[in-house]
């Protein structure tokens, strides 16, 4: 409890409180809060998937559209609400209340019933129309499905996606100054997340391969088994200090990659860092390349293409080619100008 005026000073910022620079003081306080959060997360005081569970709990109370329900689910709700009942409940907490309500209901039923009958007819017609739309939509979906471009899988080489890989230290250095959370995707069992946390970063991992995530959760508190783009969509605008991508962009189709970059542009804080580790094309053609490489809808970009794309998007980009040209690392720092708010842009 806080009694106004009877609080205590906390942390290093207390010393800075008396200084003349309010910005430095607030920055120090925020750094201490971030450290507190990091410690709380690593201590296991809260379930690692807490925020997601709270979100799901809230959405369970929202209308069907808020739950991301599909058309069939929405139609079930429409069907259930098609009949408008003119016989209103008459229960009351007061003794005479039920009698009065019942009398009013009897008096008004001829009128209310006439209205509700028409509303029910209208709702039935709407429901019928929607069922026809749903059937035709499903037919269309079946036809479109054969031409669908599959999502890219995670393409990793064991030698290049492990603790001692050459690109790990440059990545740790690049994200070391990030303010805010750091996400690694695809995080696998959390091998890089562990290293970022050990280096003092507030990191978590996202990976679309649930078996790897379940295995990693035993040693890393915050790993999320989700599609990377789906996860980023749920993150608050400018909510991330750094994003590390490894194994996820190499095989993406062009459109999928463009969408991901747009998402990153809105979720990365101004001054935030984007690190992309990608295999080279020669690694994909090697005999020991993983089977995901054959099944991917796209192929890796050349390092210079990444530089071109990111420079165009307002990043300051650095490219490092790995030994034997097997892979490369792109480090990009986002411009510090705040992103345009989506209010009017959309």
């Amino acid at each position: 409890m806080t009694d106004k005026g009877t609080t205590t000073d906390t942390g290093d910022a207390a010393d800075a409180a008396g200084t003349a620079d309010p910005q430095a003081y607030v920055a120090q306080v925020m750094a201490e809060i971030e450290e507190e959060v990091r410690l709380r997360r690593s201590s296991g005081d809260l379930p690692p998937k807490l925020e997601r569970e709270l979100d799901e709990l809230f959405l369970a109370h929202s209308p069907v559209a808020g739950r991301g329900g599909d058309l069939t689910e929405a139609l079930r709700m429409v069907d259930a609400a098609t009949f408008v009942d003119p016989v209103v409940p008459v229960a009351s907490e007061r003794a005479a209340g039920a009698v009065v309500k019942k009398g009013m209901r009897s008096l008004l039923l001829w009128y209310v019933g006439w209205i509700t009958h028409q509303v029910s007819q209208f709702a039935s017609a709407v429901s019928r129309s929607l069922h026809i739309v749903e059937r035709r939509l499903k037919e269309l979906e079946r036809k479109v499905e054969v031409q669908r471009v599959p999502s890219a899988g995670v393409v990793e080489l064991p030698a290049l996606h492990r603790d001692g890989a050459w690109w790990v230290q440059p990545t740790l250095a690049a994200v070391g100054a990030a303010t805010g959370r750091i996400v690694h995707a695809a995080s696998g069992d959390g091998w890089l997340v562990r290293q970022i946390i050990a280096a003092g970063g507030d990191a978590y991992g996202v990976d679309p391969r649930p078996n790897l995530v379940e295995h990693g959760v035993l040693t890393v508190s915050d790993l999320r088994g989700e599609d990377v783009a789906d996860h980023l969509r749920a993150v608050a605008p400018a909510g991330l200090g750094a994003i590390v991508l490894s194994g996820v962009v190499d095989g993406m189709a062009s459109g999928e990659r463009t969408q991901l970059l747009h998402l990153i542009a809105t979720k990365l804080a101004p001054g935030g860092v984007l690190v992309v580790h990608s295999l080279s094309r020669s690694s994909w053609d090697a005999a020991d390349a993983p089977y995901e490489a054959d099944l991917a809808p796209g192929r890796p970009l050349r390092a210079e293409t990444w530089r071109h794309l990111l420079d165009q998007s307002g990043y300051h980009t650095t490219v490092t080619i790995g030994p034997d040209d097997a892979d490369y690392l792109v480090t990009a720092v986002r411009a510090t100008v705040p992103p345009a708010e989506p209010t009017l842009a959309q």
Binding site: T7, H61, P342
Partner: protein, 371 residues
């Protein structure tokens, strides 16, 4: 320019507004501005598409304007949402000033109020449509000014919302103050948020933060949500969420309250917390600063401009971050005092007298000097 000659009646500067409500920021701003315009020497009336019953004597329906029209009239449109008023003004020829308060984007309504989503989407089109008609765009923040410029407005200036923040210093409602004092005796911090219960204000994020805060730091903490609603689906979901988290005794959804009850809530608050997803200005933040309540807020829209350095600003609404920030503000005396002091320094910069002078000078560039 001045449309009235030296011998003629004073030029009228009339305001148009989608809805005139007594307890929302735009309604309060419109009423205060009407008084300021009159005091400056202009004739001024309010015309609205919808008028709250309590203000029936203060305004006319917008379609009644032709009965009041006179040569030399200048119009100010308080733009805060989509409205039939926009189309009405677009068809007229009087010099027009857009006073832009921003509007909540359709994405915030999609899951909750599909009909409102459509209306919100129309607001942007109306803003663009009026750009060619407007001689001046007033924005209550630089954030809003950028929106005007993106929509094609050539001449713009920033003038804060008119806030009568003295109402938070009014004598508090005895009954509400008594109830809050009784709760406080049980221990625990009182966290306050003031704003309409709608998805964009993200009261559910406040509830999430409270749940974490109680679990990690302060098991007796309470959250007070003050403000009416126009989104009953969201309110219903919020109530269900509160109940399911076992917070029914810790979260008070007070609804719309009187000025004296609002003063009681501010007097009892240990911290003001805002996790809104969208804010064009944030009047309650100014009220919190005026009441000496430290502010913790998610930095979206114009919030950083409104609070200056008088708040702890969060990048997102992560409940653990928020809880840690709340804990820090509630337990760190130096930080708390610094935020309160900075708030008290910030408020005079937004005072009615200061802003009134700015707005009169801006209006005069279109309507001429009042006599």
């Amino acid at each position: 320019m001045s449309a009235a000659g030296p011998q003629g009646p004073p030029v009228a500067v009339h305001q148009f507004v989608p809805t005139l409500n007594p307890h929302d920021a735009t309604g309060t701003h419109t009423l205060l501005l009407r008084d300021i315009l009159r005091a400056a020497g202009w004739r001024s009336e309010i015309f609205a598409e919808a008028i709250h019953d309590d203000l029936a004597a203060e305004a006319y329906k917008h379609w009644m304007y032709p009965d009041h029209a006179a040569e030399g009239d200048v119009h100010i449109y308080q733009f805060s949402t989509s409205s039939a008023v926009a189309g009405f003004l677009a068809e007229r020829g009087e010099p027009l000033i857009i006073d832009f308060h921003n509007f909540t984007g359709p994405e915030h309504f999609a899951a909750w109020e599909p009909h409102t989503e459509e209306r919100a989407a129309r607001a942007h089109d109306e803003l663009v449509r009026l750009a060619s008609r407007a001689q001046l765009g007033l924005a209550d923040s630089r954030f809003n000014e950028r929106c005007l410029q993106q929509a094609g407005y050539g001449r713009t200036t920033v003038i804060p919302v008119l806030v009568d923040y003295h109402r938070v210093g009014a004598p508090p409602d005895d009954r509400v103050a008594g109830e809050l004092a009784a709760s406080k005796r049980e221990g625990g911090a009182d966290i306050l948020f003031v704003g309409r219960v709608v998805p964009s204000k993200a009261q559910h994020e406040l509830v999430k933060a409270l749940w974490v805060y109680r679990r990690l730091y302060d098991p007796e903490a309470r959250l007070h949500l003050v403000g009416g609603t126009s989104s009953f689906a969201y309110l219903k979901a919020l109530r269900g969420f509160v109940h399911e988290l076992g917070l029914a005794g810790a979260v008070r959804i007070a609804g719309e309250v009187s000025d004296s009850a609002l003063a009681a809530y501010f007097a009892a608050a240990d911290v003001y917390l805002s996790l809104s997803a969208h804010e064009g200005f944030g009047v309650p933040l100014v009220e919190a600063m005026a009441a000496g309540v430290p502010v913790v807020a998610r930095s979206v829209g114009a919030i950083r401009e409104t609070v200056g350095d008088a708040a702890l600003l969060l990048a997102g609404s992560d409940p653990l971050y928020t809880a840690a920030a709340l804990h820090r503000v509630c337990t760190d005396g130096a930080l708390r005092q610094r935020l309160v002091d900075a708030g008290r320094r910030r408020v005079p910069q937004l005072s009615l007298d200061v802003v009134a002078g700015q707005v009169v000078a801006a209006v005069a560039t279109v309507a001429g000097t009042p006599r």
